[in-house]
């Protein structure tokens, strides 16, 4: 019998990196960053890699303590995403549905896909099901599954994961996340969120090309 095309280590490595990026972006957007998260962000292996791709945090960012920085970034997170007048919606249905409402058709569609693969929303998750951070987290979990399937030679599952990812990105992410990032870049007063929005935008653009 003919052998199915083998994925190489490159494919596994790529999947691991994608999973890492999606997890990173999920933490950035799900909630205000905790002091612990900021501490991790400032680790050399994080910052050096980010610097290598053009991210240059100013001295103020580097020299401010995590607890203080956490408070400052939380204020900006709330100004940008939670309260009027800026209030950039983090929910897909507001960007994608015709009537631009919370918990619209898009929300149902996203919830259905997420739950249909055995995932559930945590009891303490108080956001809606189509939060941008949830979308990144869902992609992280799908790519993780793909990674483990590739590592064990389960090419069928890996292909199925890739199909899920492609469908989910096309239906629920490629069509609004970049616009969301542009809006954040325009509205934010924080270099951190401007940089994060830029990284997100660049990554989604990269994914769009790779997926196609």
């Amino acid at each position: 019998m003919k052998k199915v095309k083998k994925y190489g280590n490159d494919a596994i490595k790529t999947a691991q990196l994608r999973s890492g990026i999606y997890g990173f972006l999920a933490i950035i957007y799900l909630k205000e960053l905790s002091a612990e998260s900021i501490k991790s962000f400032k680790k050399p292996e994080v910052l050096n890699n980010l610097k290598g791709m053009g991210f240059n945090p100013d001295k103020k960012f580097l020299n401010t303590g995590e607890n203080v920085l956490s408070g400052q970034l939380a204020a900006e997170y709330n100004r940008l995403f939670i309260i009027p007048p800026v209030h950039i919606s983090m929910y897909a249905s507001v960007w994608l549905d015709k009537d631009k409402i919370l918990w619209g058709e898009t929300t149902s569609g996203i919830k259905k896909i997420i739950e249909s693969v055995g995932l559930s929303y945590k009891d303490n998750w108080d956001g809606l099901p189509d939060h941008i951070g949830v979308l990144f987290e869902f992609m992280k979990k799908l790519v993780e599954k793909e990674t483990s399937a590739l590592a064990t030679g389960d090419n069928k599952t890996a292909s199925s994961c890739a199909e899920y990812e492609k469908r989910f990105l096309n239906e629920y992410m490629f069509n609004w996340v970049r616009k969301f990032c542009e809006t954040v870049k325009k509205e934010t007063k924080s270099p951190f969120y401007r940089e994060m929005a830029g990284l997100t935008e660049r990554f989604i653009e990269f994914e769009e090309k790779e997926v196609e």
């Binding site: 990026i21 990173f24 991790s40 962000f41 994080v46 945590k122 987290e137």
Partner: protein, 821 residues
Amino acid sequence: MAKLNRRSFVKLGAAGIAFLAGIGRADKLFALDDEVKLGLGGKDYSPITQDKRKSIPSTCWQCPSRDALTCYTEGERLVKIEGNVESNRNRGKICSKGQSGVNQVYNPDRLLYPLKRIGKRGDGQYKRITWDEALNELTAALKKLKDAGTPEKFMLHHGRVDGSDEKIINNFLTGYGTGTVGNNTSTGESGKWTAQELTWGKYYDVNDTENTNMILNFGSNFFEDHTSHIQLAQRTVEAMSRGVKLYTFDVRLSNTAARSTEWIPVKPGTDGAIALAMCNVILDNNLQDDGFIKTWTNVTLEQLKKHMSQYTPKWAEQISGVPANKIKELAIAFAKAKPGTIVSYRGAVAHYNGVQNERAIKTLDAICGNIDVKGGTNHAVMPEWKFPEINGRVKQLDILDGFKGTAAFPTHNVNNQVLKMIKSGKAGRPAIYMTYLYNPAYVNGECAENIEILKDEKLIPYLVAVDFAMTETAVLADLILPDVTYLERWSLEDTMSYAMIPEFSLRQPIIKPLGEARQFQDVTIELSKRLGINLGYDSTLDFIKQSCAMTKVSFEYLKEHGIYADPSAKPLYKGYAKQANYGGETVIYDAGTGVYWDWKKSDAKTAEEAAASGYTDTKNAYKGYKGQKIGGLVYRGFAPDRVNKSGKFEIYSGLLKARNFEPMPSYMPIPEHKKMKDKELVLTTYKVNVQATPEIQNCKWLSEIYHDNPAWINPVTAGDLGIKTGQKIKIKSGVDEILTTAKVTNGVVPGIVAVSQYVGHWAYGEFASGKKSTVFVADVDSNTKWWKETGVHPNWVVPNSPDPIAGQQRSMDTVVTVTKA
């Protein structure tokens, strides 16, 4: 801003991984729990209220595939149907027909109340009566026949009915005493099944395309329609995505042919010639599987080579139009594929020579060693239900198998001849002719004659139709009993599994039956009570629960999951090579065939009588088959079904020889095609996915997709006839004529006209026939229906003509003229 490239992607990824690792318990920051498990499904939400929908698993009935379903309700309303992802058969996928089941339930044209004719038969005048009135009338008619000692004059003719649905009906009929029970198999594929019974035993084959290396396809449009449509199509698509090649031989560029590696156009009814020539090439090049031929078939390699030597590729080219070099090339590639598999269906089988074509195709698979192996062509694996059974002697009118000499082995009856038999009266006539989910006025050939017979009260004194829709037959009935749709029904199903692991499936009501529609099985149980027949169960549900207990399959599990397959079961291949248990006091050995058989299960009265007449010549000896002796051992072998073949793969059929047919797989020219005159064409029929069965044209979603079926004609042929696309044309055969429009296309071979089946209804309802109901409320979409066409039904011009071996309806052989209308 610089775009991300591979280098910066790696950096970002490394940063992300390091960031997550540095958080410690990052999990607590996320919103989602659990791990991804693909293929779960079963959840859906209302796009309007956003409420979670209730999901109920069940089993489809829109076509013979009977895929596993997940149905969703909001309140008490069915709103959506999907594939059940737990099924090892359709694996979460269904086709558009399955999704349109919603239309069947809520179609305003469906039957909801018992109706009694009040005008002349066929005038369409009915009055609504109560179930009690209907059953009183029917019970009285049945009792009269029973009391007169003529229960066989009650004929039930059913359509696509399997599993518990069929068993409950048969128990009632056996209890009543009639064996005059017809089916619909010869309309579709009885030639294929009988050929298999004569060759390898029990019918139904599985093409294991999931694991194959090459696929040949003779006349099957399986990407659109097949007994196992979704199972086969999805596995083939997956195979092709890993580079497996699919070659389709067909007179028409079907959607399957178009998506094949190559479409190889053939002349109608010549598939067998190609398969035989391929055998010739393989044997000539010594590429055959010597071990299989020697051990498991009943011919020697020398016999086989000698027989096949007459069927050269050059000869086949002249017959079929397929270039000899192409036949050689594909034959050699197929023999080397190891394993390959051959799909075949009506394009090869619904002909005068269909049985021999199928035998040639199975022989081609056999000599390549593809039988019952992973990636090959395999006996179907099906669940084996144990059902409560009523035994008893029945009497039968001899009208099920056609006129004497019609078919040598009508192992699935010859249903297309039943009305002709009734018309002739030579073998008697039923006093009560009851149809159940069977619409002979429409599905048989020669529609005008069907209507004439069904309308004639002298030929059929009492016509009862049981259906969920006002079919072309129901409009002629004296009594109409409204059946439930399959989405309001309890059934146990026994469909084959392409995973090669048996899967039990349940059909359960998604909603309560609408109006006064009642499941016919419950009606037969009620009739049994009224007639004093003791069945041992009180309802269909009771029967199903008893069957589950007898089979040791949990009813509660089935209710929750819809399907059950033993999680520890492994795919079953090479079942024939397992050793048989052939012990027993009444088991004897037949030296002529090498078969051990239990004569008690045959019609022989004594062991002496059985030994004297031998296995082959004792009626129903196959029922006692135990095993086949090969060398010093006894194997399960290719166990027989319905005919007394041995346990070998019978390339040579002594049974055919005894009935004066060529015993080796051979090419039988089609007599009518040999006598064709200038300008005459062969009418070929085909099915499209969304109208693949006779019961679905009134599904509005499907009819919106496909509602017109112009006749396909090759440009060369059309040029000879002076016909252009869009022109009105008349297709005329020896029995009738139809009017349609022409579609001139290179998608058919010259010399034929191709018309799709199963549109062109003249009853059923608004979306099927274009006739709005004057009684019921119009469908909400009536006002937005943008098309007027309803298509043309080709069966008006197709004769009810059976093949001489199986009695298969020859839907592909009709000789016609085509002229401008």
